[in-house]
């Protein structure tokens, strides 16, 4: 037992230096760093929205409705005279929260199912995999739409819907990683020493599957943000007056001919946030997978 723990300790130390290497590779990747900077800007904008926003995002002013961008309203005003910049700043809170929380929900459900399914195999594996096959039959945003139809509209339900819709991705990913890891010698060694299954999965297998999970999660936050904005655009997501970007864009479309800033800027906000996560994900993938570094 002590020996295995010592070996594990050694593996952990090795992992530490590996992570340091990954970080070094990441720092050298210019695009990934650009993505990081974009995300930090959004994060700061979300945290300090009350300080940074020039106006109250909910304050209506009918006298100044549909104004084009000016010095007073840098990104113009909407149909109720609300400041678009302030609403976009507050909106980054909603989008970041949806991205992070729905990915956490997906991980929380998908990770244990995938790990158990891969580790034990057998009937449990067969059953869960066939169930996941059914969920995967609903392409892209459709599964999230189905779940929102059942639960009803609103930000919380969007998080749950997008979270559940991402469960298949994590289950498959974790299952695959666990299948590969469990054949390794150190797992056989741990098993023969009588270490419990839960302990093996938690402390010996999962830490070695972290790389792909982190990469996938980074990409999936981007997808979650796109899906949530799509639901908002369809009228199935956050409801007015919430300053959710997709919802803002959908309503702003009615004023497309006279006030295109109502569609342009919320869309750009979504684009940059998604781009940030994608660039970071690309960088993490390249840093974690030495084979993909060559062909950049």
């Amino acid at each position: 037992m002590d020996k295995i723990d010592a070996l594990s300790e050694l593996a952990t130390q090795k992992r530490d230096t590996e992570w340091r290497q990954v970080l070094r590779h990441l720092k050298r990747n210019r695009l990934a760093m650009i993505g990081m900077v974009v995300l930090v800007i959004f994060l700061l904008g979300a945290i300090f929205a009350p300080l940074l926003a020039p106006h109250d995002p909910f304050q209506t002013d009918f006298g100044r409705a549909l104004e084009l961008p000016s010095r007073d309203h840098l990104l113009g005003t909407d149909w109720l005279g609300r400041d678009v910049l302030s609403r976009i700043l507050y909106g980054s809170r909603i989008s970041l929260a949806i991205g992070l929380i729905s990915v956490s929900i997906g991980l929380l459900i998908g990770l244990p199912i995938g790990a158990l399914s891969g580790y034990y195999g057998g009937k449990f594996d067969l059953l869960t995999q066939r169930f996941i096959d059914v969920l995967i039959a609903f392409p892209g945003i459709l599964l999230a739409i189905v779940i929102v139809t059942i639960l009803g509209v609103g930000v919380e339900n969007v998080m749950i819907a997008v979270g559940i819709a991402s469960v298949p991705i994590y289950t498959r990913l974790v299952r695959g990683s666990v299948l590969a890891a469990k054949e390794q010698d150190y797992i056989t060694a741990a098993k023969s020493l009588g270490i419990g299954d839960v302990r093996i999965i938690l402390f010996h297998i999962l830490p070695n599957c972290l790389g792909p999970i982190i990469v996938q999660s980074t990409f999936h936050i981007a997808t979650a943000i796109l899906w949530a904005a799509g639901l908002g655009f369809l009228g199935l997501g956050a409801q007015p007056p919430a300053p959710e970007w997709g919802t803002m864009l959908s309503k702003g479309r009615e004023y497309m001919r006279t006030a295109h800033h109502l569609t342009t800027y919320p869309g750009l906000a979504i684009l940059f946030m998604v781009l940030g996560f994608n660039l970071l994900g690309d960088g993490l993938r390249d840093a974690l997978d030495p084979r993909s570094r060559k062909f950049r």
């Binding site: 059914v134 892209g140 739409i145 189905v146 864009l249 497309m256 569609t263 684009l271 998604v274």
Partner: protein, 311 residues
């Protein structure tokens, strides 16, 4: 080989049954009284009772499912609570439009993505390469509905070249297909580029060049064929993304397809139509995957037909 095709067909059956169970369960999961939800907010008590009887909501679930499934196999998907027309008729009217849009978008994606990817790979680090890879990054990140609106602004409102929505002439499909296809084009361009670069480093390409073959022949005859394998995989996988994206694109361009019908029906709580539309998209997706897998097996003989599932 044929064994693989048959096995793959058989594997689709439980998935289709599962899809039907999920769609069947969908309205029954809605909190509150499903009969009231289906009949609509302003329905009379008599009508709610009628819905309850029609859907056998007082019977046990397995009986309900049995009846639902028997009806389904006869092509009976119930009636729209809004128009009172059969759901199957509503769906079949719109089905060709969604298929047309998806195929047109895939056509755009393949043409644009492949050519950009090949040129980028052969002229690596050139201005074209850098520019198209930047466009590809943005294309993947841009929300499809925002792209649609921006295209409308530019090509319909500002320039007046193309109609901003609806269906009718061939010109109506250009903007929706471009909108829906762009993200997939971006992805195909990126995959084609990296796959080409990988193939171009192989020894047999060096051999072909040292034989004195013209560069054009080396690239289009020798390299492209092998570089295509991962690209074909991505194209197959992207059909799902396109079908999902069609829901949004159809809404932006008032394109009378199944996606838009579904969203309208969700908003008006016309659940029989929602169920039918969801079922139809999912079944279509399962069938497309089946076809792609079979085509892929023909293209790449290395696929292991012997193992189950081919994972």
């Amino acid at each position: 080989m044929y064994g693989y095709v048959i096995r793959r067909l058989l594997l689709a059956v439980p998935v289709l049954i599962g899809v039907s169970i999920l769609v069947f369960a969908m309205v029954r999961f809605i909190p509150g009284d499903p009969a009231r939800a289906i009949a609509g907010v302003h329905a009379s008590p008599e009508f709610i009772e009628q819905v309850r009887r029609e859907m056998l909501l007082d019977e046990p679930l397995h009986i309900q499912y049995y009846v639902y499934m028997t009806n389904l196999l006869r092509g009976n998907l119930g009636h729209s609570t809004f128009t009172r027309r059969p759901v199957s008729v509503e769906l079949l009217e719109r089905f060709p439009n969604t298929v047309m849009l998806t195929l047109a978008a895939m056509f755009v994606a393949i043409i644009v993505g492949l050519s950009a990817g090949i040129i980028s790979a052969t002229k690596r680090y050139s201005v074209f390469d850098n520019a198209s890879m930047l466009v590809a990054l943005v294309g993947v990140a841009a929300p499809v509905f925002w792209l649609g609106v921006m295209f409308q602004l530019l090509f319909s409102v500002q320039l007046g070249w193309l109609p901003s929505g609806g269906m009718g002439t061939a010109r109506h499909i250009i903007l929706p297909a471009l909108t829906l296809g762009l993200a997939t084009a971006a992805l195909i361009a990126r995959i084609t580029r990296s796959s080409m670069l990988e193939v171009l480093r192989q020894d047999y390409i060096t051999t072909a060049r040292s034989k004195g073959l013209v560069e054009r022949v080396v690239i289009y005859k020798h390299a492209l064929k092998n570089a295509m394998i991962p690209v074909v995989t991505v194209i197959g996988l992207q059909f799902g993304t396109l079908l999902g994206g069609a829901v949004l694109t159809e809404t932006v361009f008032s394109w009378p397809g199944i996606g838009r019908l579904m969203v309208d029906s969700i908003l008006s709580r016309d659940y029989p139509v929602v169920q039918g539309a969801v079922l139809m998209i999912a079944v279509l997706f399962v069938l497309i995957n089946l076809i792609v897998d079979v085509i892929y097996a023909f293209l790449d003989p290395r696929i292991s037909y012997g193992t189950k599932g081919g994972e």
